[in-house]
Amino acid sequence: DAGITQSPRHKVTETGTPVTLRCHQTENHRYMYWYRQDPGHGLRLIHYSYGVKDTDKGEVSDGYSVSRSKTEDFLLTLESATSSQTSVYFCASESSRPGANVLTFGAGSRLTVL
């Protein structure tokens, strides 16, 4: 299994403050993803990356930005957190090997915006 670690695992912040969530993988996977999970909505894709410095928007990207300066690291930034961004955030990675299109998820980061 890919080693994916997310930090912080828990964070409480106030409306209007910037927040950065970090994702680190040790499997040299090309593709990385950020999802959020909310009751009643399931997992929804925020942003994804298909290589270093190559990123694109997902289904719910408004209010979020990402960066990927190294293969192993994928950062999710909330420039100015809002209460609607209270959620559990999951990072995932995927190998580019043909037939290996399985996402491996991290343990999640629970963010509360007061």
């Binding site: 994916i4 593709y31 399931g42 997992l43 298909y50 995932a92 299109n101 996402l103 491996t104 999640g108």
Partner: protein
Amino acid sequence: EDQVTQSPEALRLQEGESSSLNCSYTVSGLRGLFWYRQDPGKGPEFLFTLYSAGEEKEKERLKATLTKKESFLHITAPKPEDSATYLCAVQAGRAGGTSYGKLTFGQGTILTVHP
């Protein structure tokens, strides 16, 4: 727009009582259908990928099947340790295409197995 609907939302079973979870989907060309298991406080854990109608895959007490409109996750003689949320997701596109892991997830079925 790709859509995935899972039913029931929650399912309570007695140990040994077999049942099935349903995943109905609409997608613009199915590249793959995925089943994941999620335990409380953890990330989803991969179970199966199905690629074409008629395909079946098994793992211990779990068996996943696929038709052109839905997938079933059959649980045979479940045990309390099978209690979890089971997530279904679809990946649109065609084989060899570049949809990457842009999965559309259902809301999940919360399974509770009582001893």
